[in-house]
Structure formats: structure tokens, C-alpha cells
């Protein structure tokens, strides 16, 4: 009987459990969970602040998930070191677990650069965990002035979640636009305006020079006073355990298409890894929930002796702020990079489709996002655009763009 050990208890770990159990009903599964919660929906912590979900609905799987899958969860425990020769892991309480197959699903941690005077700030937070959200919720009042450093997905979702709990929110970012990792300038402006209309203030192309207690002195010379500071600058993969045993890492743990690391019998999945992005044909950290599930499930199946690959990873995001939805996927190649762009724009709507070498490589949609999965599918399947009615596809994502025979197959017709 195999002994599976999973380090981490996020979505990649839950998917790994489901992957293992799809092949092996009997092997023992032990999950090492540093957080004292059953697997929960990490992206929902901003909805939790806002009151749009609660502690019961936040749980990713049903209450009996672990019992049903015969798993032991060690809460509040972490791993000091993997010993890949003995095939054991050493926990923080000095106990030792043996494994036949190991999955590292350690996620990522907030990146906090050294900032002058940061220690003098009394109320400072990251926004990564349920506990972060819980503490933040307790600390704010309806008069709090909040400064959020970082106008990325985490910082802005946090801003939305806090809006009706606090007095005033300012978000600063070094970049000249918000959501710079996923949006181009024009789309970012539309979203920024919408956020401003909803009371979020921005300081862009600016960063903190130093802090002194409740004041941030910006490089531009501005001074921002605040009660609560939230650092949402970025995240870094937790790859240390693999680094320590000289496994292959770059920014994240390098995995192959079976989610195997370079260390024998050790797999990795989720935000701690770096996998192939098909839209750049190179490795990249894809710290996204759908990716974590696909990788985790794939790792689990292979750990249990099955054979599954995950070869269709690429960045994708669907996110909304105060009722305005936006979706992005893949990579935006501009004219200089050999790409062609189709775009249409109206006041609160943007559509940009990016193509290169005869396939779609990415898109940005702000406003109307209906049936966007048909675009995503073009990227995922690398569908040659000369095999579809691309003129129609530009106007509207519909399966009518496919030939009759392909559509018949897609929809399960008798061929």
C-alpha cells in the first residue's frame, strides 16, 4: 500500500487528493497543513471581507472531504526538510513521516521588499490567507484610512472587499497603470476610472520612499497618512524545500508535464511551481486557481500510478470590481513581436484579440464577457484561425465559427 504525503492544504492539495483517489482507493494520504483550516477558497477572502460569502461557504469542499477520501490532516504543522534518500519528511515538531510518493503544494508567499521604516508601522498586513482577512476585518473601522501598496489582483480585490468597511482607500503602485500584469494601458484606464467612481483613490507611477509610523513618504514627495497598511506587491513561490535538496528550481519549482520535479518520487503542483505556458512556449509561474487544480489532479493521478499529463497551461483571469467584469487570457503580442490585434472599444467596453503565427494567443475583455470561453478554447486548442470564420469570431464568440463537422463533433452529434 502506498503512502502519499502532500505538503500544503490548498486547492492543489485537494486536487491531488482527488487525483490519487481516482486511481488508488486504498493508499494512505497524509496532508501537512500549516494553516488551521480545511481547504478553503483562497480567492474568496476578499468576498469574505465584503460579506458576500461566509466561513461555511468559503470551504472548497464539503465538510467530510477528508474523511470521505480517507486522509489524515496534520493542522498547524509545516515541513522543515525533505530527505529524498530515505523518502521521509521532517516536520517542525521533529516528527518524521515516510512517503512512497510526495507532492509539494506549498503555494506562494507575499513578497515584501525591504522598505525603510516599515517596522514602525503599527497596523500592517498582507492579504493572502483567511487569517489575514479575519485579522484585517477585526482591525478596521468605518473611519479607517487604508493604504494599499500594489495595484495588482490581490491589492484591488482587497480594496473592493474593504470599501464599505472603511473610510478611505488609497492604492499606490510603481507602474503607470493598474493590473499591469494582465492589462494594457487602455483597458487599465477603463477599469481604473470605474474603481475611482466607486471611491478608490490611486497614486500611480509612485512608490513609498519610507514609512514613519502612520505616514508614507512617497518618492514623488507626497505624504500619505493612513491607519492600516496593506502590502500587496506580489507573491513568490514557496520553492525552498526543493531548493534545499538541490532539486531544479527557477523562480518556482520546475515540473514536467506529469508534474514530476527533478527529484525522484517528488511531485509539485500549484503556485509553488513553474510550468509551461503554451502561449510563450516557455516556463512561467502560473499562480492561478484553475492551474493549481489541473496540476494537483495530474500530480495525484501520476503519484498513484496512473498516466496523465497537463500540457495546456496559460495565464487566465476572470475578475470583477463593483460590477464591472474583465477577463484576460494568454499573451499579448504587439505588431513589433509579429502579432496582429483586433480591437473594438466603447465607453465601458473593450475587446482585444491577439493573434500570432495563425493562432490566437491572448485576449482582453472589459465589460462584455459573454461566452468568452470560446475565445479561451481557441488559445487552449491552438485552433488555426484559417479553419474558423474569424470575421464572425471577432464580432462575437460563438460556435458558429466552426465548420459544420467540427461543431457536430464538439456537441456530440453522430458522425
Amino acid at each position: 500500500m502506498k503512502q502519499y504525503v502532500i505538503i500544503g492544504n490548498g486547492v492543489a492539495a485537494a486536487a491531488c487528493i482527488e487525483g490519487i483517489r481516482s486511481v488508488d482507493p486504498d493508499g494512505s494520504i497524509t496532508v501537512v497543513s500549516s494553516e488551521n483550516h480545511p481547504v478553503y477558497c483562497r480567492p474568496l477572502i476578499s468576498y469574505y471581507l465584503e460579506g458576500k460569502t461566509n466561513s461555511k461557504r468559503m470551504l472548497y469542499r464539503g465538510e467530510n472531504f477528508y474523511e470521505k477520501n480517507h486522509c489524515t490532516v496534520l493542522y498547524g504543522k509545516s515541513v522543515q526538510r525533505i530527505n529524498d534518500t530515505d523518502k521521509t519528511v521532517l516536520l517542525n515538531d521533529e516528527s518524521i513521516l515516510s512517503y512512497t510518493e510526495l507532492c509539494v503544494a506549498t503555494g506562494s508567499s507575499p513578497y515584501v521588499p525591504s522598505m525603510n521604516g516599515i517596522e514602525s508601522v503599527p497596523h500592517r498586513y498582507s492579504f493572502m490567507t483567511w487569517d489575514d482577512a479575519e485579522k484585517l476585518k477585526e482591525d478596521v473601522t468605518n473611519r479607517s484610512k487604508v493604504l494599499i501598496v500594489g495595484a495588482g489582483l490581490i491589492g484591488l480585490k482587497c480594496a473592493e472587499g474593504l470599501k464599505y468597511l472603511v473610510g478611505d482607500i488609497t492604492v499606490c503602485d510603481l507602474s503607470d497603470r493598474i493590473l499591469s500584469s494582465i492589462l494594457d494601458t487602455e483597458s487599465a484606464l477603463i477599469v481604473q476610472k470605474h474603481l475611482e467612481c466607486n471611491g478608490i483613490q490611486f497614486l500611480l507611477s509612485d512608490s513609498v520612499d519610507h514609512f514613519n509610523h502612520n505616514t508614507a513618504f512617497m518618492k514623488s514627495g507626497k505624504e500619505v497618512s493612513f491607519d492600516i497598511l496593506i502590502l500587496a506587491i506580489g507573491v513568490r513561490p514557496n520553492a525552498g524545500l526543493i531548493r534545499d535538496i538541490n532539486g531544479k528550481i527557477n523562480r518556482g519549482i520546475i515540473v514536467d508535464e506529469h508534474m514530476r520535479t527533478s527529484v525522484s518520487s517528488v511531485y509539485a503542483a500549484g503556485d509553488c511551481t513553474e510550468g509551461k505556458d503554451i502561449t510563450i512556449d516557455d516556463n512561467r509561474v502560473l499562480a492561478l486557481l484553475p492551474n493549481a487544480y489541473h496540476q494537483g489532479f495530474c500530480a495525484g493521478v501520476n503519484m498513484a500510478g496512473g498516466n496523465l499529463t497537463f500540457t495546456k497551461g496559460f495565464p487566465m483571469n476572470s475578475i470583477g470590481f463593483f460590477g464591472l467584469h474583465l477577463m484576460t487570457a494568454g499573451t499579448r503580442y504587439d505588431g513589433d513581436q509579429g502579432g496582429t490585434i483586433y480591437e473594438e472599444q466603447s465607453e465601458n467596453h473593450i475587446k482585444k484579440l491577439f493573434c500570432r503565427n495563425g493562432i490566437m494567443t491572448g485576449f482582453v475583455l472589459v465589460g462584455n464577457t459573454e461566452r468568452a470561453g470560446i475565445y479561451t478554447s481557441m488559445i487552449r486548442e491552438k485552433t488555426p484561425i484559417d479553419t474558423v470564420n474569424f470575421e464572425l469570431l471577432k464580432k462575437s464568440p460563438t460556435s458558429a465559427v466552426y465548420s459544420h463537422n467540427i461543431r457536430r463533433k464538439m456537441f456530440g452529434g453522430v458522425v
Partner: protein
């Protein structure tokens, strides 16, 4: 140069026959949109079609797509490898004997399922949380209302 390309089958032939699904014979679809009304009515919990639909915006879980001379109805394929379920950030989508269902209490309306569904088969409900075809198994109709009411029998409910 001939490219070899095929749509990867989420609905693989190996899995056909395991359960009944809703299929549309494109050649027979008239594009009359009746399926949309029957769907909205079946999921409305109202006893009378007029009070359920008259003068209201409807939010059906099936929709007609049309272009030039073609038209066909689209609803959830109940994929055997459901991307929506695997991608849901709220853990709100699950599979019960192959029927993919949404827990609307858990859904937060982030639209990630819309971003990943290759068929465009999910859409927001009136309240903003998502909805999809669940084959009318849980509502008063008990069998797909779109199939029952299709005047040209273009929509069928069968194992393939």
C-alpha cells in the same frame, strides 16, 4: 502545408453512452427560441407560464446561436472532463453521476466558468450568480423542458 488539428474532445466518444444528454440536431433546429422560454419557465418555480415569463427578462440555461443559414441550441454538455468544475474558484461546481451542477449559495459570480467553458454554456442568473443546464432533474419538469417542448424534435435527450 496541411495542418493537423482537431478539437480535443472533452466529450470523448469513450464516455458516451454512460448517461443521457441533451443533443441538438442542427439540421432540424428552426431557431424558434421556444427552448429558451421552456427552460426559463421550468426553472422559475412558477406553475403558470404566463406569470413566469410575461413582461419579464428571461434567463434561460439554453440559448440559440445563429449565423447565415445555421441555427442550433447550446446548453451544457456535462463534459466528462469538466473545465468549469476544475476551475471554479468557489468550489461551487460539482458532478453527481455525471450531471454537472452549480451550488448557487457558494457561487460568488466571478465568471471563471464563463472564461473556461469551450461551449459558452454558462451564464449569470437574474441574481448575478451563475446558472447552467442541470437537465431539469431537480425542478418540477423532471426531464429536460427544452426537449419536451421542441416543436421540430430537433433537441433530443438520449445516450450516444
Amino acid at each position: 502545408m496541411k495542418r493537423s488539428w482537431r478539437f480535443s474532445a472533452y466529450l470523448t466518444p469513450a464516455n458516451k453512452g454512460f448517461m443521457k444528454r441533451v443533443y441538438v440536431n442542427e439540421e432540424w433546429c428552426l431557431g424558434c427560441h421556444l427552448c429558451e422560454y421552456n427552460c426559463a419557465f421550468a426553472n422559475s418555480n412558477e406553475k403558470d407560464m404566463v406569470s413566469a415569463l410575461k413582461g419579464k427578462s428571461i434567463f434561460p440555461r439554453i440559448h440559440i446561436e445563429e449565423n447565415d443559414k445555421i441555427c442550433y441550441a447550446v446548453s451544457c454538455r456535462h463534459c466528462t472532463d469538466p473545465l468549469c468544475m476544475k476551475s471554479c474558484i468557489a468550489g461551487a461546481i460539482s458532478s453527481h453521476d455525471g450531471v454537472i451542477a452549480i451550488d448557487q449559495e457558494k457561487c460568488v459570480g466571478c465568471l471563471t466558468c464563463v472564461l473556461v467553458c469551450p461551449y459558452g454554456a454558462l451564464s449569470p442568473s437574474e441574481t448575478g450568480v451563475m446558472q447552467k443546464c442541470e437537465l431539469c432533474l431537480e425542478n418540477a419538469c423532471g426531464e429536460p423542458a427544452c426537449v419536451k417542448g421542441c416543436p421540430n424534435r430537433a433537441i433530443v435527450y438520449e445516450e450516444r
